[in-house]
């Protein structure tokens, strides 16, 4: 990874508060092309709120977002998408009553010259992107509510990557999946990384994090504890950051012992 170029995306000094509570308090994180940065922390640490300022679903009180080194304004999900930022939400954000192609193109439908929906073109495009993501996927005409968890996940991912995402935000991508499907999604994330996409990965699963991430940013009570290279730390040290908010160089052996129980 070369660090001469500016980061693909940088969230600088971001703050969000909900009525007196600092959900995100002066946090700075960045991401380079082809890199996976895991964002970890306990419940209510502020990970989701921070990332929503990038995806356009949450307004920041202060702070500035830079993409390719230049300041950008993101107010709505549409703004974010226009900048190549795509988000896969934990809830997947799929409309259960419509089929996979309609979900992939929701809000960005392909239209015929007379401005009607071009469902055939959308289905063809979805088939093409699915061939790359999940070759066994065949349910293009069914409402997505009848699909399995993994299939739904691939629809949500297709929705994000079809539009040439450069920055991908994945919120708990494997939380609702069985072991086989989890492995499938992990393989997919590695593949997207290979293609040069920068990925923010929010996860509770420390194994996911160590398996996939290049760097790990830890949040606690709205503040950034620190960002570490995965290869420089152990799982215990990351747990110490998550739970007691101490960096590997600050944490003592006795504290680590206590954490191990």
């Amino acid at each position: 990874m070369t660090r001469e170029q500016p980061p693909l995306v940088e969230l600088r000094n971001m703050s969000v508060s909900f009525g007196g509570v600092h959900a995100v308090d002066d946090v700075t994180i960045d991401l380079y092309p082809g890199e996976i940065v895991a964002l970890v922390g306990g419940n209510g640490a502020g990970k989701s709120t921070l990332i929503k300022t990038l995806s356009g679903a949450q307004k920041a009180d202060s702070g500035q977002i830079y993409i390719d080194g230049s300041a950008v304004a993101i107010h709505t999900p549409r703004d974010a998408k226009a900048l190549g930022v795509e988000t896969i939400y934990q809830t997947l954000a799929l409309a259960d009553n419509i089929d996979a192609p309609s979900n992939v193109f929701l809000g960005r439908e392909i239209l015929t010259p007379v401005r009607t929906l071009d469902d055939s073109a959308m289905e063809a495009a979805t088939r093409k992107v699915m061939k790359r993501l999940n070759p066994t996927f065949e349910n293009f005409k069914q409402a997505v509510q009848s699909l399995s968890g993994g299939q739904r996940q691939s629809v949500a991912i297709a929705k994000a990557v079809y539009f040439n995402a450069r920055i991908l935000i994945m919120d708990e991508p494997t939380a609702a999946l069985g072991p086989a499907e989890t492995e499938q999604v992990r393989a997919l994330i590695r593949q997207l990384k290979q293609e040069g996409i920068g990925i923010f990965l929010i996860s509770h699963d420390i194994h996911d994090v160590f398996d996939l991430a290049d760097r790990i940013s830890v949040m606690l009570q709205g503040k950034l504890v620190g960002t570490v290279n995965k290869d420089d730390v152990t799982m215990d040290e990351v747990l110490a950051m998550i739970i007691i908010g101490k960096l590997p160089e600050e944490v003592t052996e006795t504290e680590l012992e206590q954490l191990r129980g």
Partner: protein, 439 residues
Amino acid sequence: MSVTEAPPTEPERLEESSRRSFRGIVRTTEIDTRLLGLVSALLVIWVGFHFMSGGTFLTPRNLWNLSVQTSSVAIMATGMVLVIVSRNIDLSVGSMLGVLGMVMALLQAEILPDIIGFDHPFTWIIAVVAGLALGALLGGFQGFIVAYVGVPSFIVTLGGLLVWRGVAWALASGRTIAPMDSTFQLLGGGSRGSIGQFPSWVVGIVASVGIVALLVMGRRRRQKFGFRLRPMWADVTFGVIGCAVVLGAVWVTNSYYLPETIARQIADERGIPWPEAGLNIPLGIAIPVLIAIGVTLIMSFIATRLRFGRYVFSIGGNPEAAELGGINTRWTVLKAFMVMGILVGLAAVVSTARLNAAVSGLGTLAELYVIAAAVIGGTSFAGGIGTVPGAVLGALVMQSLQSGMVLLGVDAPLQDIVIGVVLVTAVAIDTGFRRRATR
């Protein structure tokens, strides 16, 4: 997904199994089973009433009347589908129909005669345009309060139900406003509001050509993208059944003749000597029915082929997903209410024209019939599910029950009981099927 499905990668095997099982046939031909169930229910009702009434139900006269009586509720039901699909409800349509009918009647009977004279050729156009525009305005206003102010639609339109009814009364202090412009009257059907024999056949033939063209175009599109084609026998069957239904319906409306008194009037007007054997003038398709059919086609198109329709469905399926997809959900909901208002205006045209008068009670309880039609037609109150043709069939089912019971001489209270029971039963059956389908 069910385990019995053949692997889709083996089309031949699928083809083979599809001939064996009913489910397979449904799958390969992509028939909407819910619509099929509704059509079957309708046929059972029709045949049942025909025998119980001693052969008076399935007559050209009764079917023609049934078609005219259904049109007003059917027109509104197509819009109610969109409103309910977007997870809202409109309880105000009956009262709004009262207001819009009253405004159009006042325009024709009291305001415009003073300005351009009674029965001026433009009178009906001005009245209709004013009615539809006011419908869009009232509907849009309610939609604005729902979408932008955030008051639940149940409350907003419950308020509308009271307010608009009061306004309808206040506009004319409860008087009956009559008569309507003579051209306007035609829009309500009645003895002269039909298009006649030859134009009806033209409509039937154009519709048949349209059905065949749609099937052919559908095949071409699938071929172009290399998707699996529906078996030829299925497309041919659809085409034959579709054309047969259309042409059969035209034949029925053309087999209903004008009553002798009106036939005589027309003969006199045109200077035709009255023949000894009498004169059989076929009515053909009634104008309000033609309007309802046109509305059904347009609303189906809006619901399934335009972005607006897709957005309404996605909001019903998952409002958050729609919002995150960058859809302007508020504006979409407002537009759905606006479309509903325009359709109420159209239904008010038909009702007022048919009655040849406006009364302040016009449309009372219509909201319940419209909602019931949409729901019997498979629209889900949870949002996200519903079809326009389904709602129209729902309206036809309800009107058939009502007309049939009138033919049998069933008391009015018992009629209400039967319709109420049918409504709940229909939804219970539908819910059962849906639960099985999603497992």
